[in-house]
Amino acid sequence: MAATQRFPQYKYVDAVRWLPLQSPFNRFAVVALFDFDTESSSIQIHSFNPNPLSFDPQFSWPSPSRISSLKTSHFLHNSLIVASTSSGSLHFLFADPSDATLRSALSLPDSALHSLPASSLDLMDAAVDCVTAGEDGRVNLVNVGDSNLSYRRLFDSGGLVSYTAVRWASPMEFATGGYGFSLQWWDQRKPGGPVSQFKGDRDKKLTSGIVHSIDIHPSRKHTCLAGGSLGTVFAWDLRWQQQPIILSGAGAGAGAGNAAVQSISESEVWEVQYDRCIKSNTSSTRILPSMICSEDGILGVIEQGEEPIELLAEPCAINSFDIDRHNPSDVICSLEWEAILFLFYS
């Protein structure tokens, strides 16, 4: 059973994230908004109260340009919000975890990190280590100093390879995704290129598309879960690099071993996250259940060997979502039609 509640924003929602919780009484979500009428962007912190239900803006930070990627974390006694923008700048916002007021902000200027509008970033859990990867083919590691940000360029493909998603796997390793359902595995101790890579092709039962999102479960750091075009969700296990496990996708179903795969969607899977709500047998060799959102308005749960579960079927695209890690049955989603939707399921 699931209950939903929507809140029109009257502005385009570029991204949504829960702010990791410091106390069970104050819950906050971060929303990146773009106002087409005034052409202004902002990052807003909203306080969230489930009973009686309310979702009110507490604080707004004007962003110089549109947000292309947004992540939240907590570090020491700060709530941390990190955003990359379409002009290539990067912003770290440190907020008070109890009332979400902004304590300080650090920035890297336009075009410092990336020359192209779209870039993706990830923050390490309970740390300030940030990795960014962009369509311009650059991979950067960002460090937080006392009063400034600095970065190190780990790689630059010179536009030959574009990266559309990035995710930490361990303090030293991370994964990126890109065109042609490609995945790259990096080790920051080994600059000069990825240490392993995967490229989807017909032999691997993957028709061509773009990876939009990656997730790596802390308990299974060798497996990279990726979601992308044509409803495709697949897992790439570093130990069996040439045999991706296809969990959903329009191109799926033809190969041996993937015969029983059903597709949850036929369009772009914009985000994929391991579902922290379903308790699965962690000793099992099966891929852990995951949640996806898609361009055709689906929010659903995929589990290997099971029929996919559709939690939402909206008339418009669900562009991003985030599972509250402290209340894993609460999901926040951004809808194409200028609205935010909450899903509470059990």
């Binding site: 029109p8 087409f36 192209l116 779209a118 010179g158 536009g159 773009i210 695209a317 562009n319 200028e338």
Partner: protein
């Protein structure tokens, strides 16, 4: 850009009915020699001004005329109406195909339309504030926090007359409810009962003896005349005789007030009952008539009661008896009590003709009311109402379009055709003067154009365009081509729409455009990806040809890396172009050759020779590269330590040279650009190698 200061060289727009001059600051010295105007995104006009050698581009935001509903709210309505509209269209087509007739009127089609209408209606009502206090303040006569919109009122009016067949019997009562909800809207152009009540409510705290205030009695009769029974009863209970200290001295007066209040709260009404509404509701006509006559007789009895003489408060006596006159349908009292013709019209339905009559006599009654209450100014809802009563579908559409804009017309057309086959024919017939499209299609196209012009709504325009038989698909293709390919998200959303409507040729063209865009901007990986997705073999071959150009030339490490990356990119194509196999082998050869250069490792050199022989043996290696390949390998052929090529291998290469000298005689032979002595040095190297190899063997 807003500009309001007087400036020199101001632009004067076309003067129509409501001419307005908007001065515009452009900073150019007059005279302006040329002016070009085009639409930019959304409601923005782009003006390009030329004055002598200087030029300037200015963007002017044109504000929407409807200030009642802000742009963001309009978008919310646009989003919300997509699903009901799409559902209705699919129901229409499934019913039509089931019945094998183009018009769906043989079934209970109106029920589908009613469901559609209700959904749109609740969308227009928006999210009602659910936090209204439960404890009611007795001094609150009318609620002022809820502000309905004219759009909502117009939609409901159309629904009442055209769609809701079930409540057609209770049409008068639905109109009473309609006015109760929307009377406040008319306050902008007329004096209204609602407006007077709001004013009175504000002063309520300052009035000492309410029944001595003539406005109290005027408003009581006004509220009663339009059937706002709850307001009347609440106001009556404010009467001074209810106060504890006065109850004993004014017992009789209070009895009369209470009697009137009770009678009014029991007024029979011909409608299905609804919660929170005063009056006794009757669904069947005979029962209603019986109750109505009984109620009237009770009023007449009270009116003739001897107690009135004993009531010494003149205000109370006259005020209450006037209320009774209204309930008895006294035309003069009704006319006095109401402010403008619609209020008078509604009071007629309540107290003079409580039953539905033909629409023609409803129109006559409206005309009579307009005569009694001449219009000083017209409200946009009155025009619509008269159009409906005139039974003129085209006038109704014109009013909707003129006063409420394309959204209402595009969506209300469904309501107008719900119950009448005749208006269905009028609205759906193809018209020569509209270029062969129907009125319905014309309005849908107009609405789709509005949606298309905004970055946030263009994605829903296809739903309306695909419901247009004649011009829709053409405009849809146009719309899809027009979208920017720069950003991935937008591009992918665009391609998704192509997929939904099976427009494969468009999506492959869009991917080609995206591929070329990215290629031109140096995003080679992205460019090649999209060209491959579009299966644009022409572009891909051309890119591959560029790679061939580097064959046999010395290139820097950095550009070799780029070149190698490009081969990798092109190679990921599942069906590689013919020459790619060669390029892959050539890359391997070049790589091993690079290892050799500088170093003296014979093993590496042997590997390079292996690659060279593979290349030269392979039939896919183009003949024009033979000489450059051999020229590249001079170092291998002249290897110091030992001959690297066996006798048979050297013979193979010599044979190739022989073939080349024959090929030179062909007219299409292209001479490779190599140093003039290249051929002779290759010959010499091969000959030397052959000699050494023979000795070795």
């Amino acid at each position: 850009m807003a500009s309001n200061a007087e400036g020199n060289g101001a632009l004067v727009p076309f003067s129509g009915d409501s001419s307005a001059v908007y001065p515009l600051h452009h900073g150019l010295a007059p005279p302006i020699s040329r002016l070009s105007i085009s639409w930019s995104h959304g409601n923005t006009l782009r003006l390009s001004l030329f004055a002598g050698a200087a030029a300037k581009v200015v963007e002017v935001k044109v504000n929407g005329e409807d200030s009642e509903i802000p742009d963001a709210q309009w978008r919310r309505i646009a989003y919300g109406s997509v699903a009901p509209f799409a559902l209705l269209q699919s129901q229409r087509s499934s019913i039509s195909s089931l019945l094998k007739t183009p018009s769906p009127y043989h079934s209970d089609w109106w029920e589908h339309v009613l469901q559609y209408s209700k959904e749109i209606g609740s969308l227009l009502a928006g999210s009602k504030m659910h936090s209204s206090p439960i404890i009611e303040d007795p001094k609150v006569l009318v609620k002022t926090d809820e502000k309905p919109t004219c759009l909502q009122a117009a939609w409901e009016l159309i629904e009442i007359f055209y769609v809701d067949k079930q409540s057609q019997t209770w049409l008068p009562e639905r109109l009473v409810d309609w006015l109760a909800d929307y009377d406040s809207l008319f306050t902008s152009t007329h004096e209204t009962i609602h407006g007077k009540l709001v004013d009175f409510q504000k002063e309520l705290g300052n009035i000492q003896v309410i029944e001595d205030d003539p406005r109290y009695w005027d408003l009581l009769s006004s509220a009663l005349s339009v059937g706002w029974l709850d307001v009347v009863v609440r106001m009556l209970r404010l009467h001074g005789s209810y106060q504890q200290d006065q109850l004993s001295t004014r017992e009789l007066e209070n009895g009369l007030v209470e009697a009137v209040a009770v009678l009014i709260s029991k007024m029979p009404r011909f409608c299905p009952g609804s919660a929170g509404k005063l009056g006794d509701c009757y669904k069947s006509k005979p029962e209603f008539i019986k109750a109505w006559e009984k109620w009237r007789s009770q009023i007449t009895k009270l009116d003739r009661s001897p107690f009135w003489i004993q009531c010494d408060n003149q205000h109370t006596r006259e005020g209450l008896r006037n209320l009774l006159q209204i309930t008895l349908g006294n035309t003069e009292s009704l006319c006095m009590a109401t402010c403008y013709w619609i209020e008078l019209y509604i009071s007629h339905f309540l107290y003079i003709r409580p039953f539905t009559m033909g629409i023609e006599s409803m129109y006559n009654l409206a005309e009579k009311c307009i005569q009694l209450k001449p219009r000083s100014s017209t409200h946009r809802l009155t025009g619509l109402m008269i159009g409906i009563l005139e039974e003129n579908t085209e006038v109704v559409l014109a009013e909707c379009s003129r006063e409420f804009g394309p959204w209402l017309v595009a969506h209300a057309v469904e309501l107008l055709t719900a119950g009448s086959e005749q208006s269905e024919i009028i609205l759906h017939e193809e018209r020569y003067n509209l270029g062969g499209i129907s009125i319905v299609e014309l309005h849908r196209l107009a609405y789709a154009q509005i949606l298309s012009s905004h970055a946030l709504t263009w994605q829903i325009a296809p739903i309306y365009l695909t419901s247009c038989m004649k011009q829709g698909m053409g405009l849809l293709e146009n719309l899809l081509y027009r979208q920017s390919v720069q950003h991935n998200d937008g591009l992918l959303k665009n391609i998704e729409i192509c997929r939904l409507y099976e427009l494969d040729h468009i999506s492959s063209n869009i991917m080609k455009i995206a591929g070329v865009y990215h290629w031109k901007h140096g995003h080679k990986g992205t460019g090649v990806f999209w060209l491959q997705q579009a299966q644009d073999t022409i572009c891909l071959d051309r890119i591959a040809q560029q790679l061939f150009d580097s064959v046999g030339k010395s290139i820097s490490d950095e550009s070799f890396k780029q070149w190698e990356g490009m081969i990798e990119l092109l190679g990921s194509e599942s069906n590689p172009a013919g020459g790619l196999e060669f390029l892959h082998k050539y890359r391997d050869f070049k790589k091993s050759l690079k290892k050799v250069s500088g170093g003296k490792s014979t093993d590496a050199a042997r590997q390079a020779v292996g690659s060279l022989i593979l290349l030269m043996k392979n039939p896919s290696t183009p003949q024009r590269f033979w000489l450059p390949l051999l020229h590249d390998s001079l170092k291998l052929l002249n290897w110091q330590d030992c001959p690297l090529l066996s006798v048979s291998e050297t013979n193979l290469l010599l044979n190739k040279l022989q073939e080349l000298s024959l090929a030179k005689l062909c007219p299409h032979y292209i001479e490779p650009s190599l140093p003039p002595n290249a051929l002779s040095s290759i010959r010499l190297a091969l000959a030397t190698n052959l000699g050494r190899a023979i000795l070795d063997e």
